[in-house]
Symmetry: D3
Subunit: 292 residues, 6 copies
């Protein structure tokens, strides 16, 4: 869209609308969860949207916000498991993360997915730094259940390193592996980790970029998108299973974060180009917003 297609007064009006948002978010921390399944899924982007996402991150940082990227990588781990001929093990009906699986998951998350996101952002300058939750005590974990192996819950977040990188105007990109006090690593759900990091940083915003348009009153009805919810209403949707599956940890992270002081939590459609910019810098917003 060239400038020619906008009238000068429309341009002026949008600037008058956007500038106060930019001012309001100056120096604000924004934690963005970028889903493994979002990669490769943006509308009409030959590279699956990673470049567009990386540009948005570079742009929001450039006008003074402090973005933190947290990512998953489920599909990518699955593909490597398959390639190495590793068969998934189940105990009591649940998938088990044995030592070898953890080793592969970490290798893929830290050594592959994280690297690709960092590289895409760094096309715009020396901006991003890849981190594992194991670095400098970032994500402190505890084993969830002995039967599930090395699956961990977040029990603490040390933000020293994040804060320091943010103070240098760098963008931390976090792979969600955690460690316990004995130095054992665990695989951590990325949605939960993103929420915990947003809480620990008392972020201004927690934003989930997903492959759905937000939370719907009826998951099967396209027009039923809920634009704004309280934490309590969100709890109700989880209890009544309107929000289900992969949406549950996202919903729980949103509800918990806004109760802990995060000003707003959002679930957006990461497939829409520049959804992050439109959400942050216009009055309207897109997707579902959770308020305290």
């Amino acid at each position: 869209v060239s400038e020619a297609s906008r009238s000068a007064s429309e341009t002026a009006a949008l600037l008058v609308e956007a500038l106060p948002h930019i001012r309001r978010f100056a120096d604000s921390v924004v934690v963005v969860k970028y889903g493994g399944s979002t990669i490769g899924n943006t509308q009409g982007a030959p590279d699956g949207g990673l470049a567009s996402f990386a540009q948005d991150i570079a742009l929001v940082r450039s006008v003074g916000l402090r973005p933190v990227v947290v990512h998953g990588g489920g599909p990518q781990i699955g593909a490597m498991m398959q390639r190495l001929g590793k068969v998934a093990e189940f105990r009591n009906g649940l998938r088990v993360t044995d030592a070898e699986t953890l080793d592969i998951a970490r290798m893929v998350l830290v050594g592959k997915v994280n690297r690709e996101i960092v590289a895409a952002i760094n096309v715009h300058g020396a901006l991003a730094v890849g981190l594992s939750g194991e670095d400098a005590n970032l994500i402190q974990a505890a084993q969830r259940d002995d039967d599930l192996g090395f699956v961990g819950d977040v029990v603490g977040v040390d933000t020293t390193m994040l804060t320091n990188l943010l103070d240098q105007h760098l963008v931390p990109v976090v792979a969600t592996v955690g460690t316990d006090a004995a130095g054992q690593s665990y695989n951590i759900n990325a949605d939960t980790a993103a929420g915990a990091i947003a809480e620990a940083l008392v972020a201004e915003k927690l934003i989930f970029l997903t492959d759905v348009e937000g939370i719907r009153a009826d998951p099967d009805v396209p027009g039923s998108l809920l634009h704004e919810l309280s934490a309590a209403e969100l709890d109700g949707l989880v209890a009544s299973r309107v929000a289900s599956g992969g949406m549950v940890p996202k919903a729980q992270a949103c509800a918990r974060a806004v109760r802990a002081g995060v000003a707003g939590a959002h679930i957006l459609d990461g497939r829409v180009p520049h959804a992050l910019l439109v959400e942050l810098f216009t009055d309207g917003g897109v997707g579902t917003m959770v308020r305290p």
Copy 2:
């Protein structure tokens, strides 16, 4: 213009266009000359455009730029002279600023026009501070010609005070009265003073908000606006009298400023609402730009 009237993708495109400009100008000093005749002359604004101008100044400051406003007040001084029954004196065909005229000019500039601009900006917060060039040695002047009385030329600018106010995120609003070493005050051409201040601050931009659309190749032909000029080309236009009258000090200030390190000088139509924002934050720009 509500957001509804723009498609999401147009909005996204404008944000992608505007954000790099905002980033580029962060912490940049922008000296804006606001002409006495511009006040009361903006299209369709019942208050003559002062409120819209003040909003623009507040907005550019809010996203990190450091605006300095320099203003004149010729029409307002003339009106007060007339009201006090003071008749203009001429010597060798030139208007003379005698002691009483200077006293009236200073009273109107510092005590009236400056106050009104400060008040309009401060509707948006405690942002603006009115200054006379006499304060803390700001504008150092010398008498131009004994026959003309207290008309002065700028011989030095002490930016300490301006820099300090800018560091506090305040907006200096400068009435262009200067003093010499003996403490005598002089009336200073506001266009020239704005240029000298931009030079001394090594501003990023020097912007004249006027009541014309810019510099034209032929002053009488509306479609002949010159979008971009070098300092040398501008000198030519002055020599050939294409630029004449009140445009001469503006043109000379622009040419001198860009030669002294100011990155760009602009002559815009201050009657167009938000011309300042559109100039600063879009690729296109409006009016005439002078490059080094």
Copy 3:
């Protein structure tokens, strides 16, 4: 008076007396109210004492004190009103400040009286900066009485700007125009404003330079000067109308300031040359001192 006329031991004795005062007041804020009627009234000074006052301010600043000058300008406003043929309006027997009167008052105070004081001080260096109470939220006002028009009471003082100027070793010179939240300006009694500024800065001293010798036990008896009073005693003098007329706002400002933490408030005879120096730097003092 040349040094020759003093013996060396007298000189030594005065130095031993004065130095501890200078030490004690280092970095202390001293708010000096300089009355409009004091200008032009000092004994034997052809320029009416302004130059001598300016030298004192420059000297006390030079040895580390932090003076703030607050001034009025009643006689000067009256003269301009008369010149413009503006007739004073009365309602219920009280003088009314209509919009035009306010405009004239502001023009004279900010554009004329303030300028002259700033210029007189700046003969000694780039020391003084003229301010209106409208700058950067300095004096926050509210309308006193709808019938009186734009006469305001002080409801708040934002000292940020004053403190910043003082930290740069500059001398703020304040014209007492205030604004309300809506941006409307009001004329403020300069004595009251001086007291409010001294309170807000928790000044060491508040000094009124007037055209009388201080407060007398009997206003008509020259030898009845009261050298020292408590705030309570001062309240009594106001109640019993011993202090009356223009002395009332001064007395009230003194009593209120010392109750709010200002260490001492003084009413001095500004017509005596260097009264400010003698008051500050000798054991004796001149005029009336109000203690907490």
Copy 4:
């Protein structure tokens, strides 16, 4: 060895010897290259020596030195290649790093070897942070030879991030993957990268922990260890092929580093427990030292 086996005077003598070394190296940067083949090879250590190495790094940091660990991972990459059934490709007799090989190498280096070293150090506290040379522009690379694929040479090192981590008393652990300006990653020889980082930081020492005892005058004669060499003598040993194979990049990195201002470069036997401590903190030293 318990303290009982040392006499008090021997203890005192060693302390008197060691303390000046500790003082001398306070705040000194020491770049330690930890070879992929060293892992698992220390004498009598069931875990192959990684824990002992990690303890040494934690100890030298604890007394004020600023260690930077650079590591390789050749054997570990080879094992994963084999496991994934990836056959090495050769062109003109040289091994080729195609895109898939680079992907695997990066995954193993950043996602596995780097992680294990970080984890071993962090047993002693939240001390280590894993980095790829791709992070924040750390290792800037250029392709060596189009035929060899994604094998890169170091063309620049941005130490901002390293310096910042060191200032926080953290230990950077660097996997030697670099990027070019276009964002393409390359595999970098870890010995060369360690040398380049030591040069860029103007480190006090560059130390290679290898699986040989140092450089020998005759590689096949155990007693011929060279204790100290100049850079020029080292050049001679490379030219005469006394230093050959994997020793060549180490020797070249040592010679270049001492010429660029690094005070001393060392090639030590990483299989000897605590070789790093004995080298740094006693008069004697072990292995081969290269002086400017």
Copy 5:
């Protein structure tokens, strides 16, 4: 003892033992009382051990500790008294410090003993600064008993000067003369003063270097050294007169210091070379340690 006489593994083991102690004590304040009778009494040292003591102080400072030396000088004062033919005076059986005795004591402590210790340390660089407790209010004293003359008790310690010297990495060497508010000086017991200074600085350690091996369960039985005591146990030893004579003020200072927050107090045999180093930097320690 050359390094050759130690095996490499013994060396490594001692370093692994010593480094954590060095780390632990970095920036810690250590107050060392150096007794007048210790000077000239170290085993086998021709200069009586002062040089060895000075080297230890320089070494502990060099690795980041912050030593403060407090000294007495009883024997040296006695010698000067005798030389000047001054006969000790007694009142009620106690020795009296008259004005002349105080003058001599101060001259010897400040002008002789203090100077010799400072000089011995400064052989290692410009490290030590001699102080009297009279300087900058360091030791505030009160007269103990009118009959005893100018013998004082410590009633306050102003650590400003000590802290400032320590921050410059200088070693304060304190002669224990104190003053009262009227400026009268007093002779202060050096053991008591050392304890009071350790308390005021909340030192990590208070160490007495004496001419005995520590506190014994039976003062006459060499093998009965008590290695570790609580403050309460120490009180018992004083009450039961197991600790007696010159050991009493040391014991009381130790007990009081550990109760006031000093982490450990030690009584060591200053005649053993480098006893200070072995105590601080090995697991074993020597002499008697008092714990809170």
Copy 6:
């Protein structure tokens, strides 16, 4: 002298005269040599003037100057020598400072005279700190002549410690004992040392308080005091022996200091009460001034 004996206008005149001097010397370093023979010699002071001198030092410090006191103690050393029955030794007709003499001199200077000056100043607060030139490398000395024993010349001054004390607003009081690189102490002429310290600090003023009124054109003619001299004229007076005896090192120190950047050097009559104040803070000055 009470204030009553001065008219208000005389007081005002002196303040107007003194304040600019106080301003000019703010933060200026003033090195004051206080002679051993001056102590006990001030007109009409029962304590010999030490208290009055101490008050002056406290006062000049209180108004922002940075005084450094340097003192001698010849008479006091002589008295102690005599008391100890130490007979002066001569070699080649010159007095010899043997080891014992040095020991006594140091004891008296550092342990007695220095202490008394410090104590007198500290009556006014915790202001003064006694130093020996041996502390922290302050006065670096070399032996003048092997035959004269431990008499030293100044070869260097390390001002770190002085500057640091001055920055804490403390008054260093320096006894002029120096040391060489080997740690040997020497007795140093106090006039010479004062000059060297003033040079090293690039002091504003170097002031000698002596027991004469200054330098006279004819030493025997009271009215022949020279008020102002150039360094060259002073050289001439020394060459022609008009300045002789103890005046020679003072004259040489003055001449050298002003050539090295000290703005003014003065020789005053220390017996006149408050001579220091009158010299510093009035236009006139007393005694002899040496200009560059």
